[in-house]
Amino acid sequence: MSTRSIVYDTIAQVAREQEKVLPALDDDLVLLESGLDSLCFAILVSRLEDALGVDPFTASDEIVFPVTVGEFVTLYETAALDAAA
């Protein structure tokens, strides 16, 4: 499975568990307007660390905090590439 689909699947899974109703997920959706709260993001980042083996929020020297779902996915794709390199 691609990094992108793992990220999308995990977002949907966390939202389901936390009983949050998500709007249709696409790359332009603003994360803070997705209905996910801080706790959801925290769970999401920990799950993705286990699934992908990277935590881009801690690993990189210069982290740019993501605003949209697309930026969030790119952060993980880049981190996964860096980790593989």
Binding site: E17, L31, L32, E33, S38, A42, I43, F57, V64, F65
Partner: protein
């Protein structure tokens, strides 16, 4: 300053207190009160639904009431009768219907209401050195009461020079908790104004409201600030001073703030309800310099004992109230914070709480209460709950579970789902394990106990 209300006399006309829906001039509050009855000498249990009500009541009560018990918004109402008893409270001041607050019938009721009334007792002419009784957040069950004085609460405040532009303070916290109260006091006693937060307000709306008031000094936990950095409205504000406290500030959030607000001075402060404001770090790096520890005679003295930070200063609380035999400070007057630190390369870094208490975005979790729920599942033999470092909330709850030998007949995914469902129905959301792993065994100590980090 003998009472908070004293600063209202002669307050510059531009100085204002901004709630989410209303805005008031500090100067007007000398003649106006939200309280519909006398409070002189009363021991007041202050229970407010609205944050602006709390702010107005504090201004009217300090110097007039003998004591104020400042109840935070998330306090479970069933704890109120015990807290009232421990505090010796005789008066309930609330903006809520007293019928919604059972078990407080013995207290005199003074309504905290809108519109404001002409003050009968001139606000700010103090008759009492009011005790401020704050509630701790780190305990299971009924929170502990901690006694402060106005002098101690304001001891860490450095006022801007009188000729400097008046600051506009704001905080993402609620002012009924120690961290938010510090910002409330900075907004009131200085030359500036104050913008209160509003529960449930979306981050972008809050940032635009702060921008409309030209906020200059802004404070929150690292978790609050990460939400700001992820908001498309983050550029709406241009604070000159950014403050983080209440949780461990990591390098990523400090760097993110430096990049987003290049003109701001950024400080991360260490404070707790018991230990008061300890120190502020302004060099932009996580942790704090080794030199902060062991400075004898400094305004704030710090020691590290068995890995835990201890603090002695005029800003610490005086004592616990209503819990006999519980000492706040050691024999030398140092308050043990329970925050564990490690020294590396001349820098102390926070590594967690003693006893394994987990801090999820400022909300504390005792591993044992989560383990008790997990262990209630028939197929669970034992479990270990611990903190897992997390860049969004500082930590999340992580659980490892050992199943009974006979459990192999039930699919593991099913057992996991049942355990998590039990946790969700019994615990607040931040206490439910974010990660749950089934393992073959857990490490035990020589004494036969579960091996816990920092226990």
């Amino acid at each position: 300053m003998r009472a908070l209300g004293e600063v209202l006399a002669g307050a510059a006309p531009g100085r204002r207190l901004h709630g989410a829906e209303r805005s008031l001039a500090f100067a007007d509050l000398r003649q106006l009160t939200p309280l519909d009855g006398p409070v002189s000498g009363a021991r007041v249990l202050l229970v407010t639904g609205d944050q602006l009500s709390a702010a107005l009541a504090l201004l009217a009560l300090d110097g007039h009431a003998a004591a104020i018990v400042l109840c935070p918004p998330d306090l479970a109402p069933e704890h109120l009768p015990v807290i009232a008893e421990r505090a010796g409270a005789d008066t309930l001041v609330t903006d809520r219907d007293p019928a919604d607050l059972p078990g407080l019938d013995g207290l005199r009721h003074v309504a905290c209401r809108w519109p404001l009334l002409p003050a009968q007792e001139a606000i700010g002419e103090p008759a009492y050195a009011t005790e401020w009784l704050l509630l701790t957040s780190g305990t299971t069950g009924v929170p502990k009461l901690v006694r402060h004085t106005l002098a101690g609460l304001t001891a860490a405040i450095r006022l801007a020079p009188a000729d400097a532009p008046p600051p506009v303070w704001a905080t993402f916290y609620d002012i009924r908790r120690y961290g938010g109260l510090q910002i409330f006091l900075r907004g009131v006693v200085g030359t500036g104004s104050l913008v209160l937060s509003s529960a449930g307000e979306p981050v972008a709306d809050h940032l635009r409201r702060l921008a409309s008031h030209d906020v200059t000094h802004l404070s929150g936990t690292p978790s609050h600030w990460r939400r700001v950095l992820m908001s498309p409205a983050r550029g709406a504000i241009a604070p000159g001073y950014v403050r983080l406290s209440g949780e461990i500030a990591d390098q990523a959030v400090l760097d993110g703030l430096r990049e987003t607000y290049p003109g701001a001075s950024i400080g991360h402060a260490y404070a707790s309800t018991e230990a008061g404001v300890g120190f502020e770090v302004t060099d932009g790096r996580e942790g704090f310099p080794e030199a902060f520890v062991g400075r004898a005679g400094a305004e704030v003295e710090m020691r590290v004992v068995d890995g835990s930070l201890r603090i002695r200063s005029g800003r610490t609380a005086d004592a616990y109230v209503g819990t006999a035999g519980l000492a706040l400070a050691d024999a030398d007057g140092f308050v043990d914070t329970g925050d564990m630190v490690e020294l590396r390369d001349g820098r102390y870094r926070f590594v967690g709480r003693r006893g394994g208490i987990i801090n999820v975005g400022g909300l504390k979790v005792h591993p044992e209460e989560v383990e008790a729920v997990i262990n209630g599942h028939a197929l669970v033999r034992m479990s270990l709950v611990e903190a897992r470092r997390n860049p969004i909330t500082g930590a999340v709850v992580s659980a490892r579970v050992v199943l009974e030998p006979g459990a192999a007949e039930t699919p593991e995914a099913e057992v996991r789902a049942e355990i998590l469902a039990a946790c969700r129905s019994a615990l607040s959301p931040h206490k439910v394990p974010a990660l749950l792993k089934v393992v073959a065994s857990l490490e035990m100590t020589a004494a036969g106990k579960l091996a816990r980090p920092h226990a």
